[in-house]
């Protein structure tokens, strides 16, 4: 059940990512929704689930982006594992810590991802500090919001149900 939810979340993130990319100039956006899902799953489920989610999501993303299959997977595996460890070692229940974790995870992902490409002499990224920082901020914002939504959604749904029940009476 959990695995199915993870697969569904990754698929949804990929669908959103590819859909939104069409409406953004130059075909890229400053948010990696798949990475956000990986970090979210890692923080809520631990390192094992986090790294497996990262592996799965990264490999699918690599396959879809016609790049070297495994580089994105490797980067997201590392991020998922580290985020899972952080989630088990520290209490990451407030917005600011979550923001920091998402921000850091994005930076780590970028370092591994770009570093491998440069190391293998497959691609060069110029000076990516601004892009990476922007993506890290974007991911962190989306991640914190996602956490808020997921946490607040059940209560809001419950409140709405109770309001409807009262109105019917």
């Amino acid at each position: 059940m959990k695995a199915a939810r993870v697969v569904l979340a990754v698929a949804l993130a990929l669908a959103l990512q590819t859909t939104l990319a069409r409406f953004v100039a130059r075909g890229t956006i400053a948010v990696d929704l798949v990475l956000v899902v990986v970090v979210y799953v890692a923080l809520t489920s631990g390192p094992a689930t986090g790294l497996l989610t990262g592996t799965f999501a990264g490999l699918v993303q690599d396959a879809l982006s016609s790049s070297v299959i495994g580089i994105g997977g490797l980067a997201k595996t590392i991020v998922g594992f580290l985020a899972g460890i952080l989630g088990t070692q520290f209490i990451v229940a407030q917005s600011v810590p979550r923001f920091v974790v998402f921000f850091g995870a994005t930076v780590v992902h970028a370092v591994v991802f770009m570093g491998l490409y440069v190391l293998l002499d497959l691609r060069h990224f110029g000076v990516p500090y601004a892009a990476v920082t922007g993506q890290a901020v974007g991911n962190a914002v989306v991640g914190v919001v996602a956490f808020q939504v997921v946490e607040l959604l059940p209560g809001a749904v419950e409140r709405r149900r109770s309001q409807r029940t009262r109105l019917r009476r």
């Binding site: 592996t55 595996t77 460890i85 491998l116 293998l120 497959l122």
Partner: protein, 282 residues
């Protein structure tokens, strides 16, 4: 399941997944040399293993060969030592033969120079007691030797025959306590008597105070004793002292190194004094 086990399982899982990713990436990417990274890395790792195995094997072989070589070297070393000892022995023999030949040559020169009839003899023994300074030579009465015949060497006077046997003779050295010979200082012509002291030095006695004798003067046989022919070197003056009486006290260092004697000449020609004494006794 404990937290530690969970962490360990996650760690193993992480390592396994990482390895899988690396293999996956390596299979797709070519290295700068055009060879797939997986192949290059695999070959690189395997070549290091090969290098390690080769190093270990060659090191073992080197150690083994060294051990075997050492054993071989030990045998060879012993053989070489044996050969060296034999060569040293041969060299010593040759050196001894050369010395012997040189000594004999000097004896021949002396015989020619002295114009005396002599018999060459080899020293075959020394004195039985240290109180008597004598040597034994390998010639005796069968070779014409008689008592009181002078024995000389290229360096100077050695002594006289005291006891001849048929095939050997005992020679009293000049340094023996009981030995004596008429002597003369070559430079000042001062005469006296050389007497043995029992050690490695001689004393020249009965030299008058009026004679001029200095350190370094050559002392020779005077011939008046009827045993030693005139003009043979005895030694050099080493010290000259006043003895308080009418004579000087003179120490002479022998010309002959008595400890290194090997061959000598026995003067067979009778001296004039001996002929006279033999004639008077007949």
């Amino acid at each position: 399941m404990t937290l530690l086990q969970i962490r360990q399982r996650s760690g193993y899982l992480f390592l396994g997944v990482m390895l899988g990713h690396i293999l996956l990436i390596s299979a797709q990417v070519n290295s700068r040399s055009g060879v797939p990274v997986l192949e290059a890395v695999t070959f690189g790792i395997f070549s290091e293993i090969q290098r390690g195995v080769s190093t270990a094997v060659s090191g073992t072989l080197r150690v083994w060969n060294g051990y075997v070589g050492l054993r071989h070297l030990k045998v060879e070393n012993e053989e070489l030592k044996r050969r060296l000892a034999a060569a040293e022995m041969a060299a010593q023999e040759q050196r001894a033969q050369a010395d012997r030949a040189r000594g004999l040559q000097q004896l021949l020169d002396l015989r020619d120079r002295a114009n005396l009839q002599t018999a060459a003899a080899e020293i075959i023994g020394a004195a039985a007691t240290p109180d008597f300074r004598t040597v034994t030579i390998d010639k005796g009465t069968r070779d014409g030797l008689r008592p009181d015949m002078a024995v000389i060497a290229p360096a100077g006077v050695v002594g006289r025959i005291v006891v001849p046997s048929a095939r050997a003779a005992k020679v009293q050295l000049l340094i023996d306590r009981n030995a004596a010979a008429g002597a003369i200082v070559e430079r000042s012509r001062a005469q006296g008597v050389i007497v043995g002291g029992g050690d490695e030095r001689l004393r020249m006695e009965y030299v008058s105070e009026v004679f001029d004798v200095v350190v370094g003067d050559l002392v020779m046989t005077s011939g008046i004793d009827g045993i030693y022919p005139k003009g043979f070197a005895i030694g050099r003056v080493e010290t000259v002292e006043k003895s308080g009486s009418a004579y000087k006290r003179i120490t002479v260092k022998p010309a002959v190194d008595f400890s290194a004697l090997e061959n000598v000449l026995v003067v067979v020609t009778p001296t004039a004094a001996r002929e006279a004494s033999e004639g008077s006794s007949e």
